[in-house]
Each structure stands twice: as C-alpha cells, then as structure tokens.
C-alpha cells in the first residue's frame, strides 16, 4: 500500500494529489491518503465515485483523516 501525505493541504489540494497519484497506479492497487482537512471526507469519496475508484475506509484519529482508496480502471 502506498501512503500519500496530504497533511495541512486544504481542499481541493488533497483531491488533486490523490488524483495525480491514482493516475500513476494500476487497477487494484491501494492508496492511503493522510489528510487534515475534514473536507476530504466528502471530496475524496466524491472524486472516487465520479472517476470509478473505491473508498475502502475513512478513519479519523485526532486531527487526521486516513482515507484508503482502491484504484479502479484507469484509462
């Protein structure tokens, strides 16, 4: 699993980082985005739904949101 540090970034920057990383990965790979902006709880899942990827879990501990994504089909 690949970890992506999106701490302190405000939306949509975490989404952009996730997007650019996901575009480098292949189907089935997992990506963990570690974020601090609570907005990612909505924005990353929305981005994944639109682009055909899957959010496996969102964990919130202290001030961090850990969003686990499974890459779907990339064009």
């Amino acid at each position: 699993m690949i970890e992506l540090d999106c701490r302190r970034l405000l939306c949509p920057m975490p989404v952009i980082k996730v997007q650019d990383k996901v575009n480098e990965l292949s189907q089935g790979q997992e990506l963990l985005a570690v974020c601090t902006d609570p907005g990612v709880q909505n924005d990353i899942p929305a981005w994944c739904r639109i682009n055909g990827h899957q959010v496996l879990s969102i964990e919130n501990d202290e001030d961090e949101y850990r969003v686990l994504i499974k890459v779907g089909q990339n064009d």
Binding site: R8, L10, C11, P12, M13, V15, I16, Q19, T36, D37, P38, G39, Q41, N42, D43, A46, W47, R49, I50, N51
Partner: protein
Amino acid sequence: MNNLAQRKAVALISGGLDSLLAVKLVQEQGIYVEGINFYTGFCVEGHTHAIRKKDQSKPKRNNALWSAEQLGIKLHIIDIIEEYKDIVFNPKYGYGANLNPCLDCKVFMVKKAREWMEENGFDFIITGEVVGQRPKSQRKETMPIIQKDSGIDDRLLRPLCAKNLPETMPEREGWVDREKLMGFSGRNRKPQIALAKQFGFEDFAQPAGGCCFLTDENYSVKLSDLWKSRGEKTYELDDIMLLKVGRHIRPENNYKVIIAREEGETKYLQGYKKQYDSLRMTSHTGPMALLDGTPDDAQVNLAAAIVARYSKGRDEPVVTLVYQKKTGEQQELTVKPASPEHVLPEWML
C-alpha cells in the same frame, strides 16, 4: 449519430449553475463530456468551510465535484497555482472592479483546456459563459478575444448563449443542433433557474459575484497590502490562503499580525506554526495569532498587546502570552492589552 462517431467535449466546470446547464444541454445531444476544473488558489471552493467554524453546519462539498456527479461525467482538477501568478501580476487586459483579471483568466483557462483537449483527443470545449452576464469578461466584444488569444477559435461552444453568437464548428459540422441551444443574455438568472428546474437539478450553487476571492474587495485590499509591503507583486500559496483567514492588522510595513476570529480559525492558524512566528494567550482565553514579516522585539510586544485586546483579558492591567518562533523556541511575554485608541484604524486591513 452512431456511437463510433460520438464526439467528445471538455467542459470548464466552475461548480456553478451555468456550467452545469451548459454540459447538460450538450449531453442531451449525444455528446460525450468530461469536465476540467482549474485550481488557482483563489477559488472560493471548499476551504472556507474547513476554516470557519460557523460554516460547519452547512454540508461541506466541492461544487465542481458535485456538478460532475450530477452530470455523470469525469472531472479533472488541475493545479495551476504557479502558472496563474503571471495572470494575477500582469493581466494584459487589466483588472476588473477589484484584483480580478477575469478576461486574462478566461483566456488562460480556455487555452489550458485546449491543450488538454488536444492531448486527450477531444473535439471541442464547452463553457457556461453567458453574454453580458459579467461586466468585462462576458461582454459580446470580449468573447472573440477569448477565442482568439486562447487559440481555440470556433471550437469553443457556449451552449447557454450560442444563439446570440456566430456559428461554431460543432454546430457547423452538425455535431450539435444550434436550435436546441440557448440564447440567454444579461444578468437575469430566471432562464437558468427555469432550465435547472426542467432538468431536475436542485440544490445547485449560485455564487454571488464571481468564482474566486479576487472579486472580493476586502480580499483585494489585503492582497494589495501584501504587495506593497514586499515592494513587488509576489505571493506563495500560504500567503493567499492566509488572506482568507482572520483579522489582518499591519502596524508597520515590515510586519503584520493575523488574528483568528474564532475557534475554527485558531485551529487553522495552528497549522502554520512552523512557517510563521506565533502568539498564544496563556493567562486568559484568547485567539491564536501569526506574525508575518520581520518584527523586532518592541514590535512583537505591540503585536502581543493587540492580540490581548481580542482576548478575555482585554480589561486586565497585564496579561501573559507565549511567543513562539517558527523554530519552536518559546518566550513568555507580559503585556498590557492595547486599548482601542492604540490600534489605529489604518492598521486594519
């Protein structure tokens, strides 16, 4: 039209109602659409919700993503923060009422979208522009400037006002039927609202003014102040993000104090403690503050007194604060809170 010949359009998605409708109109004609959304750093989107606590009762959502989901299209969000600086510093066509370089901005975005379109094998571009809707960038005379300067020419379709404009390539080639496009103009929003209703869109975003903070007078004042204090037009992402947050007070040209207005902002400013020197009340409840610039000791004390003025200890003879350098080094300060007449109105940005 058969599927093999299905034409592809890339739409500029701002998150507002107009781009939502523009895409829908074209989708209805069998065109395949994907969206593109540019992030300049000045966008109103999302982060104000993340920062300000009072907004947190509203659902947090990114309107561009929301629009794309409503439309069932893919959305590509593109970071143009660095390249965009030149547009803000040197707009060929000048600024609007505030520091908004709308016409240059439009040209730039259409140009970037054209490059994307060519790289990805798409056929044309759609925008939600409406003739006469905004003072400068959407006048009938400026529409051709956007087409020419961006290099897109007649491969740019504006479905909401197409009937008021010359025929474009997608219409001429028969990819879209001009008769099914709209002829909206001016600032009246009723036709858009009616069309939204017809398509069954609810809960859409209707940004007042513009899509970014550069149209905001207060924000523009703070940005001009930043340039003036630095002696040149320059900014980093942190600078322009911080202009959206807190009270900005500049007692002298070499430094300013950024004071949180409520808990959400305090929390947000805390994230910058390694980039900026900061002040935090210890004797009383009070806001968090950052120091931007190079204040000397006397200036740090004045800043502390100003911060104390916004704390619960404002009427006490003395209060204490912690002054923390960005290196982590800490120092306790004891100051007399500034009285209102000591904080000059011209310091307030």
